[in-house]
Symmetry: C2
Subunit: 318 residues, 2 copies
């Protein structure tokens, strides 16, 4: 039976399926405006981002024949690395289609896992088409970065951990959002928490889609952003569907707000967070999230950042 | 009955006493030369270093009359901050004697906890004498940074967590060492693990004391070091006694080796580690630890580093 959409039960099954393959990332307390909040440190996940969760959940469900065909994924970096790690561990060959402007740290780390890297021009080429062509030519299974039930359910396991770590559902979870895999997965895991997806300014298609009640792509001429991990041109019916059904509303942050959040994480949490991974924290610190109750959770979704950019951010020069 | 020395039982009692006051820091896997090792991320402890453990264990055992008198501590920063946090939470006034060259980030963070800061000249003044004078004048209780049974037993709770997190004792634990409170406390918690304390080059008095079989202070004219957290002129009979009885041998690392370890922690662990906090990792990466079996643990003891220095380290310019 083909499943139509990701479910809470699917997230719970994923949590059991992948628990021996991923790090249970810590939930770290921090103070903000006199309130105690929690940071879910997915930057400490193996591969430096939450992406290993979904990739592992997807690849563990391939049958033997599919494993032999290999996998192909398109990603600006973190999903690439997650798929590459999961594939290496399971003895599956992986081809990754990455934009040529992806941070070097992400390209190199993905190659180091043994994946084959194919670069494309973000402005002129269509990564979905490239991946589809590779799949046709080689028979490789396409592993989407968010538009996939198993991927979404895998990412949602971060929410299962939060519930177990707090022995309760938090009032609010603020989540960095690209295609919405993490936000929607966590929403399924935490049915009673308010979920706020946060996107880069100008790339806030999830926010605009939620507001309109239908999927709206990022417009032509969207601005450059340093939050490369969240630079997704259109969300998926699955991820949109979950968040829309929950009545979620999205927010956006600027590069500067993300940099300020990276410095906060350095000063107060001793965590290396990449610009996109700091989006949710940025929205809280900038006051963009209207109400942040005691005990709210902020997801720090990734920490793969080029050292030169990070040093510039610390020096206030980025 | 006055206790003569720190014990394994004392460490276990401390773990129960402080568990609601400190973060159970994660044990994060990483690969090195094809082996899986573990990083105990004490840089993620509240206050940015393991020191909250010992300070909390000590202050929780003050009686009401002692609490009213307040506490005084001398420290280059991390112990200061740990004592300041524990004192604030327990409603105890704290005075901290810090060297005037302590990193600004540590001074400011300690003051932010509400402690009174008294600066002294590391080269010309004796911080022990200053603290003793304050204690005489005000009646405040001196809280030593390592030469104290309760402090050592408190720091050792990191070892209790390691044992619980691995469900076993690791073969080897490599530990940054200043006065030896953390090393000796962990040694008590893990009686079957080999313990290797690591000090800054030229400040390796624990290593030389262990080799000689008696306490030897740091010599005159010890070199400048960026590993400020480990810059301790003489170890304590308690800490030396525990490590000597275990047959431990110490090692030392250079500033450059510590900086390389900070970059490794940035790239592979997404953790902000200060120079002293990176000493144990530095000794492993530099090959100074002769044999590092699969499953060994490296303690990252602190992450309080000035952003300017950290940026220089990332840029390879420190």
């Amino acid at each position: 039976m083909t499943r139509q959409s990701p479910t809470a039960e699917g997230v719970e099954s994923a949590a059991k399926r992948i628990e021996d393959w991923v790090t249970r990332t810590p939930l770290l307390p921090f103070e903000w405006r006199g309130r105690r909040l929690w940071a879910k440190a997915e930057c400490l996940q193996q591969g430096g981002a939450f992406k290993l969760r979904g990739a592992t959940n997807r690849l563990l469900q391939l049958d033997e024949e599919e494993k032999k065909r290999g996998v192909v994924a398109f990603s600006s970096g973190n999903h690439a690395r997650g798929v590459a790690i999961a594939a290496r561990r399971l003895g599956i060959s992986a081809t990754i289609v990455m934009p040529s402007d992806a941070p070097a740290v992400k390209r190199e780390a993905t190659a180091a896992e043994g994946a084959e890297i194919i670069l494309y021009d973000r402005a002129r080429e269509d990564r979905v088409a490239i991946a589809a062509r590779i799949s046709e030519e080689t028979g490789a299974i396409v592993v989407p970065s968010f538009d996939d039930i198993d991927i979404i359910e895998g990412q949602g396991t971060a929410g299962v951990e939060i519930r177990e770590q707090l022995a309760a559902e938090p009032p609010l979870v603020v989540v960095p959002c690209g295609g919405g895999g993490l936000s929607s997965g966590i929403a399924l895991a935490l049915p009673n928490s308010a979920i706020v997806p946060v996107e880069p300014a100008g790339w806030d298609d999830m926010a605009r889609s939620l507001e309109r009640g239908e999927i709206v792509p990022v417009g032509e001429g969207a601005p450059a952003t340093k939050l490369d991990a969240l630079q997704t041109p259109i969300v998926s019916p699955h991820t949109f569907g979950v968040l829309h059904a929950r009545g979620a509303r999205g927010l956006s942050v600027s590069d500067e707000e993300a940099f300020a959040a990276m410095r906060f994480a350095f000063d107060h949490l001793r965590l290396v967070v990449e610009p996109g991974g700091a989006a949710a924290l940025a929205a809280v610190l900038a006051g963009t999230v209207a109400d942040v109750p005691e005990g709210s959770v902020v997801i720090l979704s990734g920490g793969n950042v080029d050292p030169g950019l990070y040093a510039s951010v610390l020096n206030g020069a980025a």
